[in-house]
């Protein structure tokens, strides 16, 4: 089993300053600020949250709650590929839960977790609005329509080989 890749968090003060400037240093834009920072680091490291609290003068408890409340944010490092299984009603009715189970089996992780080799993060996502094409699985913004449990292994293989 491979060891967890070390994740180095750099340039925190500078990055936070830049991102805040994009939003006029307005702490009310907390969601966009944290999203942009997450885009830089792949997740929200503690140091970043602390720095945001410091620079916006918002209590850390407030920043922390926003970071843990919304599904968009993760405080844990993410994999190279984020696999999102749409669990909207239309996809569910077409069997998306079986696709999710198969993915969990093949990857050896539960939804919300990342594989130890940091290749894949598996998530469920609420309806993405492509209901006619369900079940829908999105891998790093690429949509895969009409997914079935039978297609899961080859999908993972495809990404591993890239």
């Amino acid at each position: 089993m491979m060891a967890m890749t070390e994740v180095v968090v750099e340039n925190v003060e500078q990055n936070v300053k830049e991102v805040l400037a994009r939003y006029g240093n307005n702490p009310a834009r907390m969601i966009e600020i944290l999203q942009d920072l997450q885009d830089i680091y792949g997740y929200l490291p503690r140091e970043v949250l602390r720095e945001v609290s410091h620079q916006t003068e918002m209590p850390l408890t407030r920043v922390y709650h926003v970071a843990t409340f919304f599904k968009a944010f993760t405080l844990k490092p993410r994999g190279k590929y984020t696999i999102q299984v749409c669990t909207g009603t239309a996809c569910h009715v077409k069997g998306s839960y079986r696709v999710l189970e198969r993915l969990e089996d093949v990857l050896g992780i539960k939804a919300g977790d990342t594989t130890d080799d940091l290749m894949f993060t598996l998530e469920t996502v609420n309806c993405v609005g492509a209901c006619a094409l369900g079940p829908v699985v999105i891998v790093n913004h690429k949509y895969h329509a009409y997914m079935t449990p039978a297609k899961v292994e080859s999908l993972i293989k495809e990404y591993r080989e890239q």
Binding site: L49, P59, L60, T61, R62, V63, Y64, H65, T68, F69
Partner: protein, 236 residues
């Protein structure tokens, strides 16, 4: 002055008061776990809900944040109120099966069984500690994490808060007394928040009476020098 009736009894209240405040002053019992007069109402526990009729409309509302109005008719004894109160308490007891305060309330409200699997939490998520630290002390050392049934009261990352001065206000306000504060070996300790702070002795009588963090906080707030502040209330 505002005149309203609660369960058929005429009550006189002050303009701007809530139904809960008016009821309590009139000696009428309405349970409420997330309410405290020192902080803004939060309407989270839902135990204080009552039926309010104004004109032709009857609404089912939380009494802790509903302002009184002339001629309002309030009922706490309807089937809806009883049913909801009991179920809310039953749900809380399932979440926190070992809290004497809940068991006492169960006796009063007539809840004699819990039909849900028991958890092992001790926090009823009333939020009084969070709101007291934020609104009364102004430090925001406590907050929430996550949402839904994963919601919990905590310090960020479960680490000792840098803002906390161990004033103990959260402990004081907790309705189920699960935030104990102890003083031992010259430290004040709050186990729940993994924090301790060295105690400061009164320069006059020598007794420990505040923490170093509290002292620093008061210095910053008042601008007064240490010598003035390091005297306990008895010795002033």
């Amino acid at each position: 002055m505002v005149k309203l009736t609660i369960d058929g009894k005429e009550v006189v209240a002050r303009e701007g008061q809530t139904v809960l405040e008016a009821a309590r002053e009139a000696g009428i019992f309405i349970p409420a776990l997330c309410y405290h007069h020192e902080v803004k109402p939060y309407a989270a526990c839902r135990l204080c809900m009552v039926e309010v009729t104004r004109g032709k409309r009857t609404r089912f509302v939380t009494s802790c944040d509903y302002k009184v109005a002339e001629g309002m008719v309030v009922r706490t004894d309807t089937e809806k109120v009883q049913k909801c109160r009991r179920m809310v308490l039953e749900l809380l007891m399932a979440r926190c099966p070992n809290l004497p305060q809940l068991q006492e309330l169960a006796q009063i409200l007539g809840v004699d069984r819990v039909r849900f699997p028991e958890g092992d939490d001790d926090c009823i998520l009333c939020g009084l500690c969070v709101r007291t630290c934020a609104e009364v002390v102004g430090l925001h050392a406590l907050g929430y994490e996550s949402r839904g049934f994963h919601r919990r009261v905590t310090t960020p990352f479960d680490e000792p808060s840098e803002e906390c001065i161990l004033c103990g206000a959260c402990s004081y306000v907790c309705p189920v007394e699960v935030v104990p504060v102890v003083e031992e070996d010259g430290y004040r300790v709050m186990e729940r928040w993994h924090k301790k702070s060295r105690l400061v002795a009164c320069t006059k009588c020598g007794k420990f009476f505040m923490t170093e963090d509290e002292l620093k906080f008061l210095q910053e707030k008042t601008g007064l020098p240490e010598e003035r502040l390091k005297v306990c209330a008895d010795c002033r």
